[in-house]
Symmetry: C2
Subunit: 339 residues, 2 copies
DNA sequence: TTGAAAGCGATACCAT
DNA sequence: ATGGTATCGCTTTCAA
């Protein structure tokens, strides 16, 4: 483990010069710079993260967290994990600015990004899929802000990291499980939050392909609940009357799960409809306990929050780059005992 | 974030004195010591982990890893995760001594512990359940070695941390899944590595209770495979001939899974026997792809290794205590798409 | 018993 | 363009 001091001695220069070279701060004789770089390479120099951490505080390492998490049970768990991480990492000098909002409002999120852009060195954001937001985020990245997209990726954005689920695989997994349960042939209903939500569409695609592969199942209806329990309740009632032969439901939505299940119970269909839903939230758990929901797909909310914070900590405090561009959480199947 | 220097100034003493008090090194006027302690409390002093890390290297922080992992596919993943962690943490000055052995030999493991006891500050060990080992480990703990029991807890041991699965819950989860699959009533066969393996017994108990709760299923036979594919192959052939009505298998063993599945195929019973096995290892995966195994219980080998190393790093390098005594991994249900 | 000072590794600033 | 020095928080050693 060679240090910057040893490197300086080996090269016959001062630590300051080595530091300037290795961090591209300029003002160094090109020939000398080349020599130092070569020596660093040869000696396998790696900056010691502890030394970096000690000086990092001067930059007031700060991360902004932007999540429309209020009222979304799944995000509560993500946020809780990030709060735990904050507690731990603040001992290391990391500061956190929270911007938790209610609902998806492009203008509001854009304003928050603008506001934070001058105060933070890193940004953890659940971005709304909108060109305006993408643009703002690209501006942040240009300003050398380290950006982590959480739970929803930003397709056209510059260099950043994604932490979140593989939506398509969630649908495929649900489809495989439904077939394993073996109460088919299935006539399926699928709920999504909104047709505009890319992730939910991907779940639907994965699910449809999985269950139709054998030719004996099909998706009879897809409806939106706008992540709202009342809308979900009414839509479910309506759709089940229109499609009385539906015998399986895939709840690709997150917010309306409870409303959907209440509708099923009201129609006394919980016995003959197999239901797979997402996320181990209190209402979902209740419906599993009451044997309305048969299985839950779990997307590691805690891991998502923790990983996002850890990436920021490693970058800002220890000067360590992430070793991937995407951190994809597994879709886990959970039943009552392992919920 | 008050520092030791600020504390010293507040108390009108030197940093050295504060350090002696807070680390109980003695040689301090009792009245002064009490005053300093009080002030530290009042100011919510928490030692800065970065400062600790910077000086930790003088103690040559070293962890010994003792695992009978050779030839056990599941442990390969645990070890791989620990190797990745080693790579990262060695930048922080952590040193690792590996002692990976083949097979469970009490005398051999005891000898390794003795050998390491003088060289390490921490020990990550997959302990053999044996009084002799427990005694050795307790001796380590008395010597202030930080002990992490990995994948198998040491019941009668002194203060230590456990990282690993909840075996009983693994059985319960398998039982719940089998019932959800709904090809019952089930006549079950169960394989364990050995009757002496506590974890496998707990899986069996959890499984049995789960499937017999409704009264329509039962466990017809339990056999050992000693984690050996050939033994597993023969035992399975024998048991399925003795119990031709078996229509479900719970492979609570780890090592013999492939042998068991080969026997099933040789008997052409893969269509009518539902099989649940543990661990996403290459042979298991192959049997899932060939539709011999219906579902796999995944025990987060990677997380297990990573968490064990992280606990050691936090303790030795940052001076942070673990915040739990047990880190229990979830039992996850995996099918082909999310394997 | 106590204080003063050096050192860990990287960085920032000031003087040259 | 370059070197020297102080700094971050904590530990350890040496001197008093």
């Amino acid at each position: 483990m060679v240090t910057i001091k040893q490197l300086a001695d080996l090269c016959g220069v001062s630590r300051g010069t080595v530091d300037r070279v290795l961090n591209n701060r300029g003002n160094v004789n090109p020939a000398k710079a080349a020599m130092i770089r070569e020596m660093a390479e040869k000696m396998h120099y790696r900056p010691n993260p502890v030394g970096k951490a000690l000086t990092a505080r001067r930059k007031h390492p700060t991360v902004g967290i932007v999540m429309p998490s209020e009222g979304i049970a799944f995000f509560d768990d993500v946020v809780t994990a990030m709060q735990h991480a904050e507690e731990k990492y603040q001992l290391f000098g990391l500061r956190v600015i929270w911007r938790l909002t209610h609902g998806y409002d492009v203008a509001a999120q854009a304003a928050i990004i603008d506001e934070l852009a001058d105060e933070v060195n890193a940004l953890i954001i659940n971005p709304i899929s909108d060109p305006c937001i993408v643009e703002k985020i690209n501006a942040c990245i240009k300003k050398d802000i380290f950006v982590v997209a959480l739970n929803n990726d930003i397709e056209q954005a510059d260099a950043h990291v994604y932490v979140g689920p593989d939506y398509r695989n969630g649908g495929e997994t649900a489809g495989a499980l439904l077939q394993l349960i073996g109460r088919g042939p299935y006539t399926c209903g699928v709920t999504v939050g909104s047709r505009r939500l890319l992730g939910h569409q991907q779940r639907l695609q994965g699910f449809t392909e999985a269950i139709t592969a054998t030719g004996e199942n099909h998706v009879a209806a897809v409806w939106e609940d706008n992540d709202d329990d009342v809308q979900a309740y009414e839509a479910t009632q309506r759709m089940l009357k229109a499609h009385p032969d539906i015998n399986a439901l895939f709840l690709a939505s997150s917010g309306g799960t409870y409303g959907t299940c209440r509708a099923i119970r009201a129609l006394h269909r919980e016995q003959d409809i197999t239901i797979i839903a997402f996320d181990n939230t209190p209402p979902t758990r209740e419906m599993v306990e009451q044997h309305v929901i048969d299985a839950v797909l779990y997307q590691h909310p805690h891991q998502q929050g923790q990983k996002a914070m850890q990436l920021v900590y490693d970058k800002l405090i220890n000067g360590l780059q992430p070793n991937r561009q995407q951190y994809i959480m597994q879709n886990e199947i959970r039943l009552l005992p392992n919920l």
